[in-house]
């Protein structure tokens, strides 16, 4: 988008307003469960996509207050219930931001666990300390009262919305928009022409920050763009 150079960036009106939404999720138990890594691999293949989403994207929100040591439920189970730190490490390194489809994400986990099962058949058949129950979530998207037409209003909206809204727009968005990006960056880029701010948002590390930290970093980047 192009804007007259004489108008300060904070007053640029966006092509389209940004509507802050949030999403609420209700957990469901699915029929799949696993007591060994072999069963886990079968269940990974058979479970609904909603389960892969729940145990990766969603669990980030449920544990958003942790800065380290938690990446996804699969890695946590491999470590705490199966006592397989090397497998857990590889599972934990899967970065959801690199996926724009749950099917691809599932394939990645199937590949990692499949390789481990082939390599370590004894360990893969050993009973885990706890059963892994595959869950999924039903999602309801809820509007909030915040709408931004300018960068200033955008910053104001960010300050007011909950971390659930940040999760919705910043982390889960890529599954909706099918891009290696997020709703905030897309709006800054496409509707305000702020490419650098959009790029900086995409470089925020969600795995070493709490979601509250992520929100604050987003606000800082947007505030810098306002100056």
């Amino acid at each position: 988008m192009t804007t007259p150079a004489t108008i300060p960036v904070q007053q640029h009106a966006a092509v389209k307003p940004f509507y802050f939404n949030t999403s609420a999720h209700l957990l469901r138990v699915t029929p799949q469960k696993a007591t060994t890594l072999v069963e886990f691999l079968d269940a990974l293949r058979a479970c609904p996509e909603g389960s892969i989403f729940q145990h990766t994207f969603r669990t980030l929100q449920e544990h958003h207050f942790l800065r380290e040591g938690f990446s996804n439920d699969f890695a946590e189970w491999a470590l705490s219930a199966c006592n397989e730190p090397s497998l857990a490490e590889v599972l934990a390194s899967v970065d959801v931001r690199e996926f724009t489809s749950v099917a691809d994400l599932r394939e990645k986990f199937v590949q990692i666990v499949g390789e481990f099962v082939n390599r370590s058949q004894g360990a893969a058949s050993r009973q885990a300390r706890e059963t892994f129950y595959f869950c999924a979530s039903d999602i309801v998207v809820i509007p909030t009262q915040y709408v931004a037409r300018t960068l200033r209003e955008f910053a104001e909206g960010l300050r007011h919305v909950s971390v659930h809204s940040i999760q919705h727009h910043f982390i889960e968005a890529r599954l909706r928009i099918k891009l290696m990006s997020n709703d905030f960056s897309q709006w800054l880029l496409e509707d305000l022409g702020l490419a650098e701010a959009a790029r900086q948002l995409n470089r925020i590390d969600i795995y070493t920050l709490t979601l509250e930290d992520v929100k604050n970093q987003i606000i800082r980047i947007v505030e810098r763009a306002l100056v």
């Binding site: 209700l26 138990v29 544990h63 207050f65 129950y133 809820i142 509007p143 909030t144 919305v161 659930h164």
Partner: protein, 456 residues
């Protein structure tokens, strides 16, 4: 320390304390103290009568805890449900976690204009004896289901079906006792939900086989933990139990009050305090906690507080309390409190005064005492059973243990690594704030109602 009376034996303490029909609590402060350390404890205060009930909070009261945005989200979520009618049915109006939760939840749902009504089933002693036996059998106890028990169970449910009206759009039946009320379902577009608060992972097959056909007629079921659920042909949702951060048990307290309670109970706040709060029940392994304390104290100086209840009206509880006293022996640093059920505020103060909280259960439901401890930001050591692993993520929001030895080690480790302990406490509180508070429970109910409403 103030001059105080010394006490010579646990029996004496118990005998000296006033008793009443409402059940005064007793405190065991073992004595005499070992030479070189004069252990004198004030005669502990007793709380003989329940406090006046507190009015239920309103949604806005939670803003200062969870933030305005979260409360706004609840209001947005409820918009499509305004004017919808909902009936909750359970088996008791007072006592027990379900009634306690409903007392808090029903006013909050009404506040967002989901018109919620709460009914309680009635029945004779024979009915409730059978439902208690069912309750235990569904959680794994041996039980022989007779035709007479089936008849009494069904007859009482039929009487309740005829007595109660089921005209609401959503009907929620809590636990197995009233589950046959599903027979009141008509052809009108109603949504029937079965909320199971108990652990069904290993049910008595006869009792489960008897109840299952009723359960399968519901539109949805709700369990408290993944591990408590059964394979069913209806959707199974997960609603973790929750605590109310504004209740007497969990609200913020002035430190002066915490100090006062400790003074009254003879607890020395200048030394570390490790506490287990739970009724005197073998499933909570109180003797194991004492053994862990004795092992850990070889290396670290601290006090152990075992705060429980249920010993006055439960013969098994009284027997366990005797075992606990026996295990404690004459150790002056083990303080055993048998508290009446209305001491929520004092329990709150005890938890807040504690350096570490332990819940070394060997069998557990969800473990709300763990939730309470985490909410108070306390580093928590807990048995890896029941719903506890949902709350305690090992080394992130607390530590999980599987043995007396593991418990002893973690006591020593956390007492000597306060920075790590502090981080666990902070993470634990954040985990509860996100997942196990009353506001999250309201959110889950509104979500479920919206999801079912959308399926019409």
């Amino acid at each position: 320390m103030e001059p105080v009376e010394s006490q010579t034996s646990s029996e004496t303490v118990a005998a000296e304390l006033p008793s009443s029909s409402t059940g005064a609590f007793t405190v065991t402060t073992p004595a005499p103290a070992p030479p070189g350390r004069v252990e004198r404890r004030k005669r502990p205060r007793t709380w003989e009568t329940p406090p006046a009930p507190v009015p239920p909070p309103r949604l806005d009261d939670y803003k200062k805890i969870v933030g305005e945005a979260d409360i706004d989200e609840l209001r947005f979520l409820s918009r499509e449900l305004k004017g919808k009618t909902l009936k909750m049915v359970n088996s008791t109006a007072v006592g027990g976690g379900v009634a306690e939760m409903l007392h808090q939840l029903v006013p909050l749902l009404n506040e967002v204009e989901v018109l919620t009504h709460w009914d309680v089933i009635t029945g004779g002693n024979d009915f409730f004896e059978i439902t208690k036996a069912f309750h235990n059998a569904l959680q794994g106890s041996d039980y022989r289901l007779t035709q007479q028990a089936r008849d009494i169970f069904l007859m009482n449910n039929e009487q309740n079906r005829q007595r109660l009206q089921f005209n609401e759009e959503f009907i929620v039946i809590h636990d197995p006792q009233p589950s046959p009320l599903i027979r009141a379902r008509t052809n009108s577009p109603q949504h029937w939900i079965w909320r199971c608060h108990i652990d069904l992972s290993n049910p008595n097959p006869e009792v489960w086989g008897f109840l299952r056909p009723f359960i399968e007629k519901y539109d949805a079921s709700i369990f408290s933990s993944q591990s408590f659920s059964r394979q069913l042909p209806i959707p199974q949702y997960l609603f973790y139990p929750c605590i109310d951060p504004l209740s007497e048990k969990n609200k913020e307290l002035d430190d002066a009050y915490v100090q006062q309670v400790c003074d009254e109970l003879g607890i020395d706040r200048s030394r570390p305090i490790v506490t287990q709060v739970s009724r005197f029940d073998r499933a909570k392994d109180p003797v194991g906690v004492i053994l862990a304390f004795k092992e850990a104290r070889k290396y670290v100086d601290f006090q152990l507080v075992m705060a429980g209840g249920g010993a006055t009206d439960d013969p098994e509880g009284a027997a366990v309390l005797r075992e606990v006293r026996e295990a404690a022996g004459d150790d002056p640093d083990i303080i055993i409190l048998d508290l009446p059920p209305w001491c929520a505020l004092q329990i709150n103060a005890l938890q807040r005064a504690s350096t570490i909280i332990v819940q070394k259960s060997v069998k557990e439901g969800f473990g709300l005492t763990v939730t309470e401890a985490l909410w108070k930001g306390k580093p928590t050591i807990a048995g890896a059973v029941g719903g506890i692993p949902n709350q305690v993520i090992h080394k992130l929001t607390g530590v999980l243990v599987h043995s007396v030895e593991g418990c002893a080690y973690q006591m020593r480790y956390l007492l000597t690594h306060p920075e790590f302990a502090k981080q666990l406490g902070e993470n634990g509180r954040a985990h509860v704030k996100e997942n196990f508070l009353m506001t999250t429970n309201v959110r889950r109910w509104l979500l479920l109602l919206r999801i079912l409403n959308g399926r019409k």
